[in-house]
């Protein structure tokens, strides 16, 4: 078995043991499933409610991906501007840093007032949450370009644009990916909070309904789906990193700075 397959086998075995112990303890103690559901209860509600889950899950996923796109592109563009253009650094940067210190989630109610109960308000909320990690990592990544690589470009009389495309952008890629990794997690969190507060579909909306009906197994099922999504994002970005950053070595997402 390859080392990676062995690692996976250990991880899966651990999950199986934890689930088995969980199931056994609840059955032995006779805990009510509306209080803490057993894994089997959760599996049953997942299967029974699959149509409901599918449509709400897709709504949340769509809002999250849209929010991420609306955060990532401006984050990279503005981050590059701030890192490269002195004027932008003096004007945009202080403004954005001031905005960043604001608790974005606290704006959720007013954003729902402005953008309504539909997906738009969730996308806006997700985008403003995911923007800052992407933006700050971009600024950081561009600012930490190896000065000797830039000296090399200068010795060749490279234009600013050549230095950007050939040295700064590829060098900042590890930071962009780190920003994306954090950004997408922030996006899904903000979308769910938005759905808690005012929505007619989505996983957040579903969780609020399920808990008001004390349908705890379904709440757990919903949370499980969201966790699985988070894991998919993480491993997806990890795979992307291996493809794009094979040259940097190491599996971990380097250079991540949360805020």
């Amino acid at each position: 078995m390859s080392p990676r397959a062995t690692d996976a086998a250990y991880a899966i075995a651990t999950f199986v043991v934890v689930l088995a112990v969980w199931e056994a303890v609840l059955r032995l103690l006779g805990v009510a499933s509306f209080f803490i559901p057993a894994p089997s209860d959760i599996a049953v509600s997942l299967v029974r409610g699959r149509a409901l889950y599918a449509s709400n899950y897709l709504a949340t996923l769509g809002s999250t991906l849209a929010a991420f796109a609306f955060a990532f592109i401006p984050g990279v563009v503005l981050g590059t501007l701030v890192a490269e253009v002195r004027f932008a650094e003096r004007t945009l940067y202080p403004l954005l840093v001031a905005l960043q210190s604001m608790p974005r989630i606290a704006l959720a109610p007013i954003i729902i007032v402005w953008f309504g109960f539909g997906p738009e308000s969730k996308i806006v909320l997700g985008a403003i949450s995911a923007f800052f990690p992407v933006f700050l990592n971009t600024v950081h990544g561009m600012a930490t370009t190896d000065p000797e690589q830039l000296a090399l470009m200068r010795s060749l009389r490279a234009t600013k644009l050549q230095a950007f495309w050939k040295v700064k952008l590829p060098g900042a890629l590890p930071f962009l990916l780190a920003g994306a990794n954090i950004g997408i997690i922030f996006a899904i969190l903000a979308v769910i909070v938005g759905e808690f507060l005012g929505a007619n579909r989505g996983m957040g909306f579903l969780i609020v309904n399920e808990s008001s009906q004390l349908d705890t197994p379904s709440v757990f099922a919903s949370v499980l789906l969201l966790s699985a999504t988070g894991l998919c994002f993480h491993y997806g970005l990890q795979a992307l990193r291996r493809r794009l950053l094979f040259w940097a070595g190491g599996d971990e997402v380097a250079g991540s700075s949360l805020q």
């Binding site: 190896d146 060749l156 050939k166």
Partner: protein, 276 residues
Amino acid sequence: MPDGPILDGSAAGRSETASALLQLVRVAKTYRTLRDAAVVALSPTTLEIRPGEFVSIVGPSGCGKTTLLNLMAGMIRPSAGRILFRGRNTDGPSTEVGLVFQRPVLLPWRRVLDNVLLPVEVIGLRPRAAYADKARTLLGMVGLAGFEDAYPRELSGGMQQRAAIARALVYDSSVLLMDEPFAALDAMTREELNLELLRIWQATGRTIIFVTHNIAEAVLLSDRVVVMTPRPGQVKAVIEVDLARPRSMALLGEPRFGQLAQQIRALLRPPAQAAA
């Protein structure tokens, strides 16, 4: 760069040295620190490099060797004096000059061949295919045949520095400026690369200006060794190395080699110690 001939390549300067490739005329460099104090990195220095020469610059740490090299490379501007390349005033970095840094400074996301071709892309030399062939030939010359498609992190430090040398040669630069290029390498690799550099120098007819801490390396490689004083640096002496070429490591045992090395070492010793 202005089109017409630059006339302030002063008449005096020209008449004495019509053959000089690179001339430094009373070049000085002063830095301002953050507290606005002036630090003299290089006292007025006059130096001439002839075409095809191998010149080493040795001096104590912080004497301004690297400053001198960066001035010649056009990477920094002199605070005073003039730097002439083929009798013309320089204005910043020139693609006639190839730089080799202490670290290899390869771009880790590019394969070795693409790293060597970076100058070709940046300068916009054509046809690319011809330069790709040239880059392969150069990689063979520096002993990296078969590593064209490797990534820098797959190479040892010595191999990376070889690639950096190939990169500095690919764009038909006439001068190679090398800033302690082998200082970070182990002694064996260093000796090997010294000999290879001599071979490359002879094969390509480049002018090489080589900064080093290592006296033996300077004597082994050079036609002339420029010895600098401690900070603020200036030229203390220029030693002609009258050893026959081609040279090999066997020279290290010869009396004349020892004499020259001793002469340079004496020049480098601080005055207090020399008097004692």
